[in-house]
Amino acid sequence: MRIYKQMKLPLHVRWELYPVKHEVGEKAEYGGSFMEEVNWWEKEKKSSLFNEIQYMIPEILFLRGLKKENPRLWNISFPFHFGFYLVIGTLVLLVLGAFSMVLGFPISPGRGIVNSLIYYLTILLGFLGLTLGTGGTASLFRRRLRDPELRNYSAFSDYLNLVFIFIFFHISLLAWLFHDHAFAGARAYIYSLLTFGGTPVGFAESRTFLGSLAIVLGSLLIAYIPLTHMSHMFMKYFLYHSVKWEDTPNRTGSKIEAAVLENLGLKPTWAAPHIGADGKKTWAEIATSGGKDKK
């Protein structure tokens, strides 16, 4: 919903902030732009996907910006975020494993290289993810509670978010520790989703309270995150690509120009007298009115 809403928004004016990482050569590093060149409009605008990816991967995976600007917070924020990524990775592996089982290839050690790899990687990623996530969330909660710089700006929902995530990580970790060392139960749950209620061959159903709770919490979390500011995990794409790095110049006859013309046809209703808007005049009419007689 959030993503759809973003995509339907009108084109805005340029508001890029340098360095823009898809610039070419050294410009991406020192923050230069295509506007450093004489008659730039006569040249083709170059942009480097490689430079962009080179920046984005460490930013997404390791929160490079936060490490540089706020290392104290990074120490606890990184485990939290990386824990999340690992849990997402675990989920992907569980889905792969369940698919494999649907196709008749069970996931267990000694069942071929790929299946063994999925088996062991699921355990590794799952354990590390839940451990880092539990520790990171607890540390973030503690910091938000104790540091006045954070506490004075925090509301009930900020704590609630962290508590919710902590409970999910912690319950899942306990479920793994006491009942489901190989995530076989979790994989069986996904298998049952894929097969509309089926049970994997040879899987002795042993539903546990902790395992069920972890699944319920995880499902609720997936539904809850997009409703909160925590959606920055994926909305960051728009913050960077639609604003901070959005530097496409407006060329005559381009799609940008068409979008600008559409915007200029909108009818504002701003009430200050100097604007002279009445809900009937368009932006274009108001902008070209000169405003000479306005007060």
């Binding site: 973003q6 928004l9 009108p10 805005h12 004016v13 340029r14 508001w15 902030l17 340098y18 360095p19 823009v20 410009k27 020192y30 923050g31 230069g32 732009s33 506007m35 450093e36 004489v38 008659n39 910006g65 936060l66 600007e69 706020n70 006045p148 710089e149 004075n152 700006y153 509301a155 009930f156 929902s157 900020d158 500011h229 920055h232 728009f238 913050l239 960077y240 639609s242 604003v243 940008i256 120009e257 600008v260 915007n263 909108l266 504002p268 209703t269 701003w270 009430a271 200050a272 007298p273 100097h274 604007i275 108001i286 902008a287 070209t288 009115s289 000169g290 405003g291 007689d293 306005k294």
Partner: protein, 533 residues
């Protein structure tokens, strides 16, 4: 003892003063400026502020009249909420709707932005200047009073009361940020608190007609009415530039002709008209360089054609668009190939970047920074240059609007490396630079004691940077701060004067073109002159 830190909701609590600026809390200055470490902000006189909002921090940028009665207060509140609603409507705010929504909804309140803000740091970390303080106030009002189920979500996501105190302080607080966007550049998520500040300013201007008089009444309104924010009409400008033309020959011994309204010229040069009045040598230096390099160029004597400023950039999209359209119309009429923007940072951004999505068809005339053309001229060898003539320490100030907002970083440095043998960088510089403290209109705002607040707080970091760049030079050696932006020059002039840096450290300031002309072998006399030690 420092008072407990304020919280965003405290903005609504009535009091004489929300925050006090104390000299002892400001960042300390090094020798020989320690005597200024005890210099307080001059108290506002009671009789001067009796009828205006002045309860924020001991200074006043706007001076909003207090409501006379309950009905008037209600009217203000209603208008504020109406304006806030419009900020989130595409008909009213297509210009910034997406960036605003993204920054309103995704802040993690990690406060990473705080340390990047020179106003927050230099003030001794006054809570109200924290970049996220005013944003959080707006977010809470938006959630509670505009979004569905606001009263319930306020209890969960942060409450705030809306009254006259809240909105009048918020309006003032929107003018304690220079919109330098350093905060946005360090935000790990990409949230832009400066943008939110910009939108608060717009709400007040576009819906309530409230803005500092220097940027609205004497700014964009006068610009559109008379032709220049300086108040100069076309005749006055021509007289002044004729005088500059004569003066240049006297100063440098080089005869220059300044062309007016030359149809079909390659380049229309647009100056900040403030240069004509305050720094005429800048206008003269441009003319000398263009003439010596054989550029086909012209100035315009049409209203607005001699003043490239666009104060709308800071507070009002409609005014911004009106001024930009006028500039483009003038260029179209003169049939020039491109507009070159002189040494004026905010005009660079307004006309080149922002107006890029306002100007269409034949109004979309190519626009380029003077720094880029100057780089080409200096690099081409068309000018005979003798760098030894600039044999004094030089440092470069990076205007935020040219560097961080446009990515024009290297051209000015390539020039300086060729003409200034003692050039050294400030720390930090380039896209990591610090604002001069005069950004977003501050340099021209001087009502009440605002100019003093600016030199003491918002420009303080720049002073420390300048002193740092020259720290290894003897005090008696003349030094030059190169600031290729009129507003930056204005605020650097003010800090150098206020802190007596010329007398104490022999620090001078000026533009880039003056340095180029000073290095030109053809000049019989130097254009840059230092007083005797």
């Amino acid at each position: 003892m420092k008072a407990p830190a304020l919280k965003p909701q405290d903005i609504a609590k009535r009091s004489d003063r929300l925050t006090r600026i104390r000299a002892e809390e400001l960042a300390p200055l090094p020798p020989p400026y320690e005597d200024f470490n005890t210099k307080p902000l001059t108290e506002l006189k009671e009789e001067k502020i009796a009828n205006i909002e002045a309860s924020l921090d001991g200074t006043v940028a706007i001076g909003i009249p207090k409501p006379k009665n309950r009905e008037e207060e209600e009217k203000y509140l209603k208008a504020f909420l109406s304006g806030l609603r419009k900020l989130f409507e595409k008909e009213n705010n297509w210009t910034f709707l997406q960036p605003l929504l993204l920054s309103m909804e995704h802040c993690a309140k990690c406060q990473t932005c705080s340390d990047a803000c020179p106003v927050f740091e230099m003030s001794g970390r006054q809570e109200i200047y924290r970049p996220n303080f005013r944003s959080e106030v707006l977010r809470r009002i938006y959630r509670k009073y505009i979004k569905p189920f606001g009263k319930i979500s306020a209890k969960l996501a942060g409450d705030i009361d809306l009254n006259w105190t809240t909105i009048s302080r918020l309006a003032e607080l929107a003018y304690r940020c220079t919109l330098c966007r350093r905060c946005a550049s360090v935000c790990p998520i990409g949230v832009d608190n400066a943008l939110i500040t910009h939108e608060i300013r717009k709400l007040f201007s576009q819906e309530l007609g409230i803005a500092p008089k220097e940027i609205h009444d004497k700014g964009t309104l006068q610009h559109l009415r008379v032709g220049s924010t300086t108040g100069m009409n076309p005749m006055a400008v021509k007289d002044s530039v004729d005088f500059i033309q004569e003066e240049m020959e006297e100063v440098t011994g080089y005869k220059v002709e300044i062309p007016w309204d030359k149809e079909g010229a390659e380049v229309l040069l647009l100056h900040n008209a403030g240069e004509i009045l305050a720094w005429p040598e800048n206008v003269g230096a441009f003319a000398i360089i263009f003439q010596a390099a054989g550029i086909s160029w012209t100035l315009s004597s049409e209203e607005l054609g001699y003043d490239v400023v666009n104060y709308g950039l800071w507070y009002d999209d409609v005014q911004m668009a009106r001024v930009a359209v006028k500039h483009a119309e003038i260029a179209r009429k003169l049939k020039v190939k491109k507009i070159i923007i002189g040494e004026c940072g905010h005009a660079h951004k307004a006309l080149t970047v922002i107006a890029d999505r306002v100007l269409t068809g034949d109004l979309n005339i190519p626009r380029e920074s003077a720094l880029v053309l100057l780089d080409e001229i200096v690099g081409s060898g068309k000018l005979k240059l003798d760098p030894a003539r600039n044999d004094f320490p030089v440092t470069l100030h990076d205007p935020c609007n040219v560097v961080r907002a446009m990515g024009i970083v290297e051209p000015q440095r390539r020039i300086l490396r060729k003409i200034a043998p003692k050039f050294r960088e400030m720390t930090p510089h380039g896209v990591d630079n610090y604002c001069c403290g005069g950004g977003s209109g501050f340099a021209i705002m001087s009502g009440y004691n605002f100019a003093e607040w600016r030199v003491l707080v918002s420009s303080r970091k720049k002073l420390l940077q300048i002193l740092g760049a020259f720290r290894d030079e003897p005090l008696e050696v003349p030094k030059y701060v190169c600031a290729p932006c009129s507003n930056c020059k204005g605020s650097i002039r003010d800090i150098l004067e206020y802190f007596r840096a010329k007398e104490r450290s022999r620090i001078y300031y000026g533009g880039l073109v003056e340095l180029i002309v000073n290095a030109m072998a053809e000049m019989k006399k130097p254009i840059i002159k230092f007083d005797e030690a």
